[in-house]
Amino acid sequence: MTAVTTPSSPSTSTSVTPHQVWLRTRGLLLAVLLLVVAAIALAATRSGDQHGRLDPRSAGPYGSRAIAELLKDHGISFRVVTTLRDATTAAGSDTTLLVTTPNLLTPHQQNTLRTATSGTVGRTVLLGADPTSVSRLAPGVQAKPPASVVTRPPACLLPAARRAGSVETGGVRYDANGLDAIACYPAAGLPSVLLLRQPAGGDTVLLGSADFLYNERLDRQGNASLALQLLGSRPHLTWYLPSLTDPSATGGPADDGNADNNTANGESSFIGLIPSGWLWGTQQLAVAAVLAAVWRARRLGPLVTERLPVAIRASESTEGRARLSRKANARDRAAASLRHATRTRMASLVGVSPREAHLPAVLLPALSARIGPAPGDLDVLLFGPAPAEDSALVLLADRLDSLEREVRTS
């Protein structure tokens, strides 16, 4: 067996070798690696503050484990939920529902939450709800631009507030104009804590800022007192931490599994009516389409370029001159050229030298001798004035042609 030894000629391949690929991309790879390391390092050093914010299981400065423990000590049953479905089923007459970040809920989720809580006698506590959230979760209340969080006096008749005294409040301020509400802790005239009584007997508490629930602030002023009274008014507390894994957050109205809600509203989109097999099949077809695009996009070698010669028609300048005279209506010049050409051709036919072809005294007698008595006015035809209009120019050309034909055939 003869093994193929090293080829005698150097490789003709133009493709890059793996070694070349490595040489070319190592700088880029190094940069990407540095970027990733830097990002991880930054995340590790800077992420501690806000991690576990308002989480009743977190003991960090911004967590809420302290208040959770206090509530448990007071005999309140405590439950943490992360999905809207759990939150709405938990809502009931003897339950306080705390929504830590109502602004993160989708409009649909907010509507669902509102529908589930408005009919109960329980309490709903919303932390830092912004204008769009408030318009859905507590219709009629208006949210105003936030104020700074400082210690404020209660300045209201709410027993819980009066007992707690000064509390660190602030944040979003609310205006419950004309509603049945108790406004407390005003900041620049508008309350930052608002207790809204519902027609069904329940109530909704809007807190402009959640700062007094943080572990690090709970022990200051009357923070703990207010928190215990607001959250401990019912025997059960449902602590709702909205999460991205909640199916109701990703899907549309028909896709959150809350089927009876949808049929009750009578709204279901086209996508919702299609069997899921079709959707998944289409998704697989999309994969096939991408593969087909990759298949068609790959060319068999690069395009070949070629220097092309210039393409100038030799007659271009003559054509240009024709158009120019046409535009300028240079009938005199055109007629002169045509007459000159005809005279030159006829002179050779009747035996007049080219030098004398354009002298009427020489050419006209020679022509008359050739074609007999002159038909009409040869003089005017060959040496006359320029035609006055375009039709006369066309006619002149025809008459020159017919004269030449006559001379040729005679």
Partner: protein, 436 residues
Amino acid sequence: MALTGRTALLAALGSLPVGIVAPSWTGMLAVNAPLSLAILCDYALAAPVRSLQFTRSGDTTVRLGDQAEVQLSVVNPSRRRLRAHLRDAWPPSSWLPGTEHASSRHELTVPPGERRRLSTVLRPTRRGDRKAEQVTVRSYGPLGLAARQGSHRVPWTVRVLPPFTSRKHLPSRLARLRELDGRTSLLTRGEGTEFDSLRAYVPGDDVRSIDWRATARQSAVAVRTWRPERDRHVLVVLDTGRTSAGRLGDVPRLDAAMDATLLLTALAARAGDRVGLLAYSRRVRARVQGRATGEVLAAVVDALTPLEPELVETDARGLVAAALAHAPRRSLIVLLTSLDAAPVEEGLLPVLPQLTQRHTVLLAAVSDPQVAGMADARGTVDAIYEAAAGAEAEAQRRRTADKLKRYGVVVVDAPPDTLAPALADAYLALKAAGRL
């Protein structure tokens, strides 16, 4: 890496099990994971492209209009069977328009360690050198799902020679030449003939051609025969400036001038004259000098092949100086240029006496049949203006030609298809008149 239509088809068929049996991420994974694995395996099992070895052979020259065949042999040194599509890329003008795709693609199967030969047929549409571009190979795996692709550079050049369409006129002009030539011996002596030989008198010969001195030396009556002068010098000067770039139909003026050059070279070489060539625009672009008569035609063809018109104004002074430098002895200088008024009157006429005082000058120009057609246009107003412009252009050419003739220059002005025979006739006429 390249995929095939089969891959896309399989993925599309996969939508059936996904849609019917398992409409979920699991279903998609169950279809696409084996497919991806198959693609990767196929890619890994395809014969490598980088290690292929190529060599070329075949035609290196072809006349424009004919076809050339270039062979490409492929050696597959790997242990895997090569199933591939191969593209042998050449510049687009190497093929007739529309046939590039079919002519450049080849399907190829090379068993491990063996060699196969492909042949690419070129039909160039333009004169000049055609250099081979890359050879691209797409090597498919055994399943036909994925392919490796790579290119190799295998240099080869095919020189596309001028078509020399006027060679059909050569036999008739050679016959005319023979009439002038000693082979149909002339008994009359005149200008442009030289002594050829003595031969025995036969009844019918002109008694004036009897060489009495030779007759006295011999016992028989001898007559002298004459033949046209030989070993004259002809220098063809080709103007490759901007006026040669204008197209008549689909070919530039320069190509018509080249055709005429080739016919004249072939004829003059047969007539025993020494032919030289000079192509000039603002510098000498090609030259042929001092070649033996047998090889001059090939040398001229070779020199003309890569020439393209340059879009610059020809330097007439430099052209005349170069011509004088190339024609040390009395020669016939054939100037292939234009009869446009401005370049001739401003450029050539002032320096023409330097040429005419020593050499015979023949100026050949290609006229435009389209302008002649314009001069005959009638009917509409536009046509009349065209006719007037055409007539004016022709009159202008005639005037320029007359000015040149006053310097003793022989002028040949003909459309591209008749320029070559007209120039050959002018050459024969000059030769017969002994003006070389």
